[in-house]
């Protein structure tokens, strides 16, 4: 074999070895699949910034966000929020958040319900599905990295895919450091 062919095959093999397949968590275990019941959320954080509980696994996994997108239709969130543009309920693709844009705030909006129409899903959906919905809702306004956000919809395309959404900046949220590194 010519050395150049050998070297390019070796290089390809090395590059491919660097690929990582995303792990799909089908069974989130007892803690993840417990039914979500009311959580307390503080609007005011005494003694320092909010500590964010561990939900990173969901907004770092394209599978979880994709599942969130499926559940967003399945549980009829689209009935009021449409596909992010809003209607009966507020739009989710802009920077305005009545009850906060942080993951745990969206979590409690879903679980507790909100006045004037947002139903409470407490006792109805497992914890991990709420976090999947939270991750998807955040992707609607471009809060997730492009390699995690969904790339295309099955519905008629009236807006750009979540992946291509420019990041909105909710006033109370500092932009993710990852976004700053972009050229």
């Amino acid at each position: 074999m010519k050395p150049i062919a050998f070297i390019s095959i070796l290089a390809t093999a090395l590059v491919l070895a660097g690929c990582k397949r995303e792990q799909r968590v089908f069974d989130p275990g007892p803690s993840g699949s417990k039914i979500a019941n009311g959580v307390a959320v503080n609007e005011v954080h005494a003694g320092g910034p909010l500590t964010v509980p561990d939900h990173g696994a969901y907004d770092q996994s394209a599978y979880a966000v994709g599942e969130g997108k499926r559940l967003f239709s399945a549980f009829n969130c689209v009935g009021c929020h449409n596909h992010g543009g809003g209607g009966i309920g507020p739009a989710l693709m802009d920077a305005e958040w009545i009850y906060g844009s942080h993951p745990e705030q969206i979590y409690s909006s879903i679980v507790q319900g909100r006045p004037d129409g947002m139903p409470s899903f407490a006792g109805k959906i497992p914890d991990y599905q709420v976090w999947e919905l939270v991750a998807y809702v955040r992707s609607l306004s471009g809060q997730l990295p492009a390699d995690v956000a969904p790339g295309r919809s099955d519905e008629i395309q009236v807006k750009k895919a979540e992946q291509a959404k420019k990041e909105e900046h909710p006033p109370d949220e500092t932009p993710q450091p990852m976004e700053k590194e972009k050229p």
Partner: protein, 329 residues
């Protein structure tokens, strides 16, 4: 006719045991190809063996160069030319046979056919029996009851990715595309339970996406249809009343329908007459108390990746829920 079939393959999931005209056409075409290729294979092998046997005394020696002259050349030309003509004729026979089969399948009577709607889901089958009166429309899952001897029009599509509807005893494969309607005309001439399977890779649990086609007499079918169109049974005993409460107050109600209760979601299979079906989870488990309980608690341990979430509930709640589900005949 022996040439029209390949005998010796009984079974409820094979195209070699056809139970309807469509599958018979397909089996005839298969048999034609099978017998042609099998005979060519045997003739070629036989010729090879004969040659070796005739020359076995000279094996191991360098063969003499064949003496050629004008007449042996002509003979070789005729033999090779003849074999070529036979090959072309056989290939054309197969091709014409395949046209004839395709035409026969395409020209089956669809006007008088009984329509059944089939929707492919990841990873189960939703089946509708449309009726002009909406309250008589029947919705079920993973089990297609069909009347014997009646032309059927399976009107199929997909709710997510491409699936393929395939009950080999009855008809060939046909893809179900999202956003595109497919018509398959078929007929079942023998009563029985015939297994079908998704035949287009559609994700993790593609292999666990099967269904049963239950062919029964017209009378039995109409009775079944009438029973299925009814609302679910009202729970009577204390335990089943509690079971219904568990169903309505847990995650079940987010995805499933039980007609006659507040549960009306269309994400998962309709459970109104769950207990009348023989399998659950698209043919994966027999519909028994044990498998229902196992499936409800942690479907992910049985069919990883399926859309049914793990459900946490106490032993009593689970017992009541399963008891309730088992009354949904």
């Amino acid at each position: 006719m022996m040439i029209g079939t390949v005998p010796g393959f009984p079974g409820n999931q094979t195209s070699l045991n056809p139970v309807g005209p469509a599958a018979q056409h397909i089996e005839s075409e298969f048999a034609l190809i099978f017998w042609i290729t099998a005979s060519v294979y045997c003739i070629v092998l036989l010729a090879l063996v004969l040659y070796v046997v005739r020359r076995k005394h000279s094996l191991g020696e360098m063969p003499e160069p064949l003496p050629t002259d004008l007449s042996s050349d002509r003979r070789a030309q005729r033999v090779v030319g003849g074999a070529m003509i036979v090959t072309v004729v056989l290939l054309f026979t197969i091709m014409v046979g395949s046209f004839v089969t395709g035409h026969a399948l395409g020209s089956m009577n669809r006007e008088s056919a009984y329509t059944i709607d089939v929707y492919g889901h990841q990873w189960w089958w939703e089946v509708h029996y449309p009726n002009d009166e909406p309250d008589k429309t029947v919705v079920t899952a993973n089990e297609l009851h069909v009347p014997v001897g009646v032309p059927l029009r399976i009107h199929g599509t997909s709710r997510d990715v491409i699936h393929s509807f395939w009950a080999p005893n009855v008809h060939g494969k046909r893809d179900l595309m999202p956003g595109y309607d497919t018509d398959i005309v078929m007929q079942v001439d023998q009563p029985g339970r015939f297994r079908g399977q998704c035949a287009e890779y559609c994700g993790e649990q593609h292999a666990h996406m099967s269904f049963y086609m239950v062919a029964e007499s017209k009378q039995q079918f109409n009775q079944w249809l009438e029973d299925q169109a009814k609302s679910s049974f009202e729970p009577v005993s204390q335990q089943t009343v509690r079971g219904q409460q568990v169903f309505l107050s847990h995650a079940c109600v987010m995805c499933h329908t039980i007609r006659g209760t507040a549960a009306g979601s269309r994400v998962g299979p309709d459970l109104t007459h769950l207990a009348s079906r023989q399998t659950i989870a698209a043919g994966v488990l027999p519909n028994t108390t044990g498998s229902l309980a196992k499936w409800i608690l942690n479907a992910q341990s049985i069919k990883p990746g399926c859309r049914m979430p793990p459900n946490q509930m106490s032993g009593n709640e689970l017992r009541d829920l399963v008891a309730y589900l088992e009354t949904l005949k």
